[in-house]
Amino acid sequence: MSVAASGAATPLAPPRHAARRVRAGVWLPLVFLAAGLGYPLLLLIANAFNVGDAQALPPTEFGIANFAELLNHLDWIGNTLLVSISATILAMAIGIVLAWILYRTTVPGQRVFEVLIAIPYPLGPLVGALAWSALGSPQEGLLNQLYASLTGVQEPLFNIYSVPGIIFVMAIFEAPVAVLMIGAAMQHMDSALEESSTVFGAGKLRTAFRVTLPLMLPAILSAALFLFTSMMGAFAIPTMLGTNARFYVATTAIYVMFQSYPPNYPLAAAIGVVLVVITALAVWASARVLKKRTHAIIFGRNYRPRRMNMRGWTLLLLAFECAYVLVSLVLPLGVLLLASLQKSGGLSWMVSNWTLSNFHYVLIDFPTTRQAIGNSLLLGVGTGTLGVAVATTIAWMVHRSQSPGRRLLEQATMLPQAFPRLIFAFGFMWMVMSLPIHLYGTLYSVLLAYIIVFLPLAYRGMSGVVVQIDRSLEEAARISGARWGRMMRTVTLPLLRAGLLANWVLLFMISVREVSASLFLSGPGTQVLGPAIFSFWDSGGLPRVSALAVVQAVIILIALVVVRRLARAKPGR
């Protein structure tokens, strides 16, 4: 206890300083987002109304001819909606059932399945489409061949190159997001709310519909919205499974127009604008529904949900989990591995027909893929690190500061979610081309685009982490005499650590596998894995493209394992 030893107080005038720092923390990201999101959108719109020289940037003549032309291709929009809505519904159904099995029933194997069910998402639609075309193509597809050799029937069992096939593959590879988002809400829901409903005489079914479902609605809606937008912008699956059947959705049509000579940018932009309008409407509608019901109360503290013993149903539910893991993980990875070992095109089980030369080729011999792997790793690390840093800062500003702009900041951060990624990348490409600084054709442009498109996901994750840390934990450190830096080092970061790592690895994985956002931005010298696999699929032959896909999958799995280890290890003091 020092008696007035410190003497004169430090004159600081921090009310103003602190306020300025806080304001910068809010306005900097806002400006970054406004520029990085608003400008591409503006260019997209300008291009959509461009009726003059298709190559002109910025356009000089404006009209609505492109939209009139679109009327001839309403099937593209129709197909997009058909596929997106059906796949969203299917993915939500799978996701809700899986989340419920995992978190609300006593079906065994929760820990294992929790991990296995999450993996298909980072593996990604590109790997999924590739694998399922090897499994389900009517002639060479592994499953169809198996079926033919077992039954002798010549008719293929199923054809993955079809609308149901596209919907199925899209749904199973996006379902883990639904499991994650709905599972989080299920874990936090206080079962006293359900129990009290039964106490007041409501049966199980009535309780489910009158209490459980309404309480889960916000989580269900926001998961559905997330899936719907990302499916509206889905590219790999409709291209790989739909182009053969001449089935076009908006994104594949945009790609075709982009590739045609001369490229028809204005029409592509017009399609993009229509898609953005549709997703924006969906966002607006769900926000309206959610506004009417705010259920902040459902999040109990330190609370373990009660699990239901499903008795006779247990086996069936377990079978459902296994089936999901089989179609989304085991079969796809298995067929890719098998295909990557082949000397020639077919899928042979004979070990004598196997070789490792495909791996040698993609890893060492072929500079393009070698470079793509290196670039993707760089981008993964960069997006993970910067994305988590930005998302954490924003989450901090939104949840911890009293700054007036914080709600606006949160909305702006979630805004990229309303853009299908491929469309955003399209506008973003124009932006970097029109900038005076040399950004186009560099990895920085891809990095920037990744950070923007993945920001909503990263923010969602980090704000979940930040709100769980009671602010008095930090205040207690301040009171104990710790300066800001010490408080961060000894209290905040150790508490955030698991969450930071989890979100870092999520960003790493989805950047390594991303194709929609990088398709237009990567080019010679800036090859990245997603687009490289995609162009290899066009030209490289199944064994080599499979080898590349396996390499990507291995990178993702390694990252997953390493980070799980790190997160579990006790932090050293």
Binding site: M1, S2, V3, A4, S6, G7, A8, A9, T10, P11, L12, A13, P14, P15, A18, Q402, P404, D470, S472, L473, E475, A476, A477, R478, I479, S480, G481, A482, R483, R486, M487, T490, V491, P494, L495, P571, R573
Partner: protein
């Protein structure tokens, strides 16, 4: 620790000198003002409670002193050092104010052991590690938690977390301790035990303490002085018994203890004569006051009569003032106390009695209110 006690008693000798001074403190969230021009001081070694209903700005006041919120206006002096002054533009950051605080949620760091939690403040001060060890263990000993020193902080019960939080705040040798409803998460039995333990710690260290609570029992039991707050302002300030016996306003009388509020009209009286309040035709002689309190809008005055200070008797004592026949309407046994709903000429009154001498419902009794216990208070 021995040196601390010496220093602290040295401070106690100069008790008249305020150790913490809050002058004209005004605080706001966004643009909503929640604390308005609050001024008070705490003497060295004094235990002060801020008492008031939920949302009246107690926590905000405390957090301003801790430096966790930045006030809009005012000045805060701790141990002769100005730590905040709006017009001199001084704002010493929290970590330099050398205070300690116990949070309502305890804020025990879940990623550290009990020992590390307690040692944290000492380590930030750069105390030598062997000294950190002995001081932290001593603080844990004080609250009876030495055996659990190495266990993880997440494995503690509410009461244990509370103790760790206390040990942590005493261990770091603070200038003063701030407590924000530290007992509100405990069950009633544990609460009363912790109350006594904290009182003991307080006597042992004589640290200046500011204690925020909305529980009047806690404030009464623990403090040298109580400040009753209402809507961001100080309503009344004084030693617990003074506030209990002489509430200044209807709000304080209502908030602290069980009081009957009776309204009536003051009869004209000469200077130096006792004030007589006319309640429905019944005259009540009131405790003398320098001046009449604020009247209600309709000109009536409010009288507070504590339920424990009204007396019930079986026999009349005609020579007493404020003495009326009454009827017991209802009797509610509360355990240590009995509450009677009593009908008397002035209306209904709640009266506390003890279970050793019970009155039957419906029985006719005599009610006596000593005139010094009939307190005229400010109307709202």
């Amino acid at each position: 620790m021995a040196t601390e006690i010496k220093l602290a008693s040295g401070n106690a000798a100069a008790a008249a000198r305020p150790f913490i001074e809050v002058k004209g403190l005004t605080a706001a969230y966004d643009s909503k003002i929640v604390v308005r021009e609050v001024s008070f001081s705490v003497a060295a070694g004094e235990h002060l409670s801020l008492l008031g209903p939920s949302g009246c700005g107690k926590s905000t006041t405390l957090r301003c002193i801790a430096g966790l919120e930045t006030p809009v206006e005012g000045e805060i002096v701790i141990d002769s050092e100005v730590v905040f002054s709006s017009h001199r533009r001084i704002n010493v950051p929290t970590e330099k104010r050398k205070l300690s605080m116990v949070f309502q949620s305890y804020a025990i760091w879940p990623h550290m052991t009990v020992f590390e939690n307690v040692a944290y403040g000492l380590r930030t001060q750069g105390v030598r590690e062997d000294e950190v060890r002995s001081e932290a263990l001593r603080a844990l000993q004080m609250v009876g938690m030495v055996e659990l020193a190495q266990s993880s902080a997440t494995a503690l019960s509410g009461g244990q977390q509370q103790r760790v939080a206390l040990a942590r705040s005493y261990a770091c040798r603070p200038k003063a301790i701030l407590l924000d409803e530290p007992l509100s998460n405990l069950d009633a039995r544990l609460r009363s035990r912790m109350r006594e333990e904290m009182r003991d710690l307080q006597h042992q260290f004589r640290l200046s303490t500011i204690y925020v609570t909305h529980d009047q029992e806690e404030a009464m039991a623990m403090s040298d002085r109580v400040i009753v707050m209402r809507d961001g302002r100080i309503e009344q300030e004084g030693p617990p018994l003074e506030i209990y016996d002489h509430p200044q306003s209807r709000f304080v009388a209502d908030f602290i203890g069980a009081a009957n509020i009776v309204s009536g009209h003051v009869r004209p009286h000469g200077a130096g004569q006792p004030v007589i309040l006319d309640v429905e035709g019944t005259a009540i002689e009131c405790a003398p006051r320098a001046a009449l309190p604020r009247a209600h809008a309709d000109g009536s005055h409010m009288l507070a009569i504590r339920a424990v200070y009204a007396e019930l008797r079986r026999d009349a004592v005609p020579e007493l003032a404020n003495h009326w026949p009454a009827t017991i309407e209802r009797r509610i046994l509360l355990g240590d106390l009995v509450t009677y709903a009593v009908r008397w000429p002035g209306g209904n009154l709640r009266v506390h009695g003890f279970p050793n001498d019970l009155f039957e419902e419906g029985s006719r009794v005599h009610l006596h209110v000593p005139s010094v216990r009939a307190i005229l208070v400010d109307a709202d």
